[in-house]
Symmetry: C2
Subunit: 399 residues, 2 copies
């Protein structure tokens, strides 16, 4: 039997590949503070569980392939409140943002077609793009610049006749960087000039701090036919396990193609859609408290990192991630050290090494991503452990 | 902006494309008996809803990418009771059988690689295979032969150096045909000789009538490394809306590749997995009553069809479908007639035209699939409507 070239060339998720070390450490009784994945500890709103408990059909049936009307309508209204105007048929419900991205790629890329992605990027983009035959053309950004990437010449230099789209996360994962409206305007102009799609992953839309403005690509009126919004309830409502996302576009041809794929897999989970529909009826002030909480956490992480000599990072404005350069050669080795050879009164912490978030080989080896998904007390302790661990690691490796 | 060639070449699901006619008919107050899709009316066991109501975590978290341990273990035991022996790591939970098939295809096919599929086949196979770059090589079967396809020379004639697998549904959809153990042995031998995977979609495993034996490809000891079982709770427990399936294989390399894709999409829905785990704890005698019900329904459908002059079909042994050849030129036109121009005291019925279940152009135009998913009373009325409608249609078209 033979396997496909594309799957053989793909790696395992860099976020999850260190779990075996974590599992071993836990077996030995070590307590681990997990800052490695974007699994928030924020309580999922009760309205979700109430909706599920109230589900009382006798038969758990397939739902319409594009999603249940209640959820689509609730999302339409949510966008409307954000001055992002979509019609019901523009919103197609998917198995998380993941399926939204996979379906988008299947619709727009032939084998070898190129997608421009600022790096470091959410590492699973690599799986969605490569498994469907596409090629990532990375646009490298740097910790020193706060990971800003919107430079016209740099982007245009990457465009070839095989380029199909620019894919970006805004607010950024793993960087926390938020695009300004002027940067978005420039990207929109490039997309128009070169006839590209803009795939804007905005699953962290609400998580923008210091009263920074957040613009959606859905707000720019002259590119509505080329904008593809990727969305999800996972982070917004701390409902990662629901696996409910959406692909949102005014491009009728794309809608039609995506619907073929949706029909192929029949429908998204019925009960989780009912729960998600309830979530989208929450008033916008639901986010006020959540935002304050995340902003405090960001400050804890940033303040700690700023105190450590040799660490390079800028204060990010959004999402719940911060990527920092550490004074180590290889953050993966440092992580394995943290899990296998370090503890402070039986405790350690876990971050995500960022090398796997770069397409360009060799970049990001000294960078780590902190997901600030624990409460301030636990987060403070986790950052203290990072500092202590780093001191020990440096003492050992530079001895 | 450009779209991929593969998506442009794909059609919409033939099962769902007639919905607009049905929706119009309902708007005009017509009652429709739906025998067009495999959405059973059997009640989903209460144990599913109880498990969901008892879910009481505060945070709806991501679960392990390969599925929750409770569900995997419950499935392992279920297989064991069927004398199908798998280890926990051989069972990977997916978003329905659909994702199990898509992931399998992504792992085994390069662009242009071939999958041999007996036709007529479950039409969404076409979407899973073509969207991932593969090519369907159909093995044509006939109503007159009860859609049996396991002829050694016919299968071997289809094998080229690009063939990667034989994909089959057993019991069959849309045919209801069940493979004999001897036929399976022969297919296994061919797969060994030509080094192919056997992808066996066994989601209808329990639905076998007249005490016919049902063998799983998982029972054949000498092909465990090349057998890929596709499974799902949808039909087995009348829980289509859960979207919980699995890909089951002892091939370690394939497991590893599929896990990459699973990690990419993070996890399957948490709550529906909890419900599915409960379903798999049901005792096997749960199916006794369900089987009796389906067997009665099959007899109603078969008896009705046998009485209509010019209809060709054999009594199927499994699943809950029957494919029959009607004395019409184009079953799609006949279906549109049934929805737009026919009623008997305000009622009509809907079937699935089978042309879209064939890869070979022009075949199956006069065939329909009946999904016997309504209770005997409604089913009888639906079949009566089919008979009446056909009489009127023939009177009009042959006048």
């Amino acid at each position: 039997m033979k396997f496909s070239k594309k799957i053989e060339q793909m790696d395992h998720s860099p976020i999850r590949k260190f779990y075996k070390y974590a599992a071993d450490a836990e077996k030995k009784g070590k307590k681990i503070y997990y800052l490695n994945i974007g699994q928030p500890d924020i309580k999922t709103p009760r309205i979700f569980f109430d909706a599920i408990k109230n589900f009382n059909n006798d038969v758990l049936e397939y739902m319409p392939s594009q999603g249940i009307p209640e959820l689509i309508e609730a999302m339409r209204r949510y966008y409307e409140r954000h001055k992002i105007y979509y019609d019901s048929e523009d919103i197609i419900i998917t198995h998380g943002g993941s399926e939204a991205l996979t379906f988008t790629m299947l619709c727009i890329t032939n084998d070898g077609d190129e997608i421009i992605v600022p790096e470091p990027f959410y590492s699973n983009y690599s799986i969605f793009i490569k498994s469907t035959g596409g090629k990532i053309v990375p646009l490298t950004t740097k910790a020193e610049d706060g990971f800003h990437f919107a430079k016209k010449e740099d982007i245009e230099r990457k465009i070839t006749r095989k380029t199909r789209a620019i894919l970006l996360t805004n607010p950024g994962n793993p960087t926390g960087t938020v695009l300004t409206r002027a940067e978005m305007r420039m990207i929109a102009d490039i997309a128009k000039k070169h006839d590209l799609f803009i795939i804007s992953d905005e699953v962290y839309r609400e998580f923008v701090y210091d009263d920074s403005p957040m613009t959606s690509f859905g707000e720019l009126p002259d590119v509505t036919d080329r904008v593809i919004l990727i969305d999800s309830v996972s982070k917004r409502f701390s409902a990662c396990g629901a696996r409910i996302g959406a692909v949102v576009t005014k491009n009728k041809e794309l809608q039609d193609h995506i619907l073929k794929l949706c029909q192929g897999r029949l429908s998204c989970p019925t009960i989780e859609q009912a729960g998600a529909a309830a979530l989208y009826t929450l008033p916008d002030n639901y986010f006020d408290e959540v935002k304050i909480e995340y902003q405090q956490r960001r400050d804890v992480v940033y303040d700690y990192l700023s105190q450590i000599e040799g660490v390079v990072c800028r204060k990010p404005s959004g999402a719940f991630y911060l990527t920092a350069k550490l004074p180590v050669e290889d953050a993966e080795k440092f992580l394995i050290f943290m899990l296998t050879s370090f503890d402070d009164i039986g405790e350690t912490m876990m971050f995500a090494p960022v090398e796997g978030f770069y397409e360009t080989s060799g970049l990001g080896r000294d960078e780590i991503r902190i997901a600030y998904v624990l409460n301030v007390k636990d987060l403070t302790r986790a950052m203290e452990l990072l500092k202590l661990g780093l001191e020990k690691y440096l003492a050992l490796t530079t001895a």
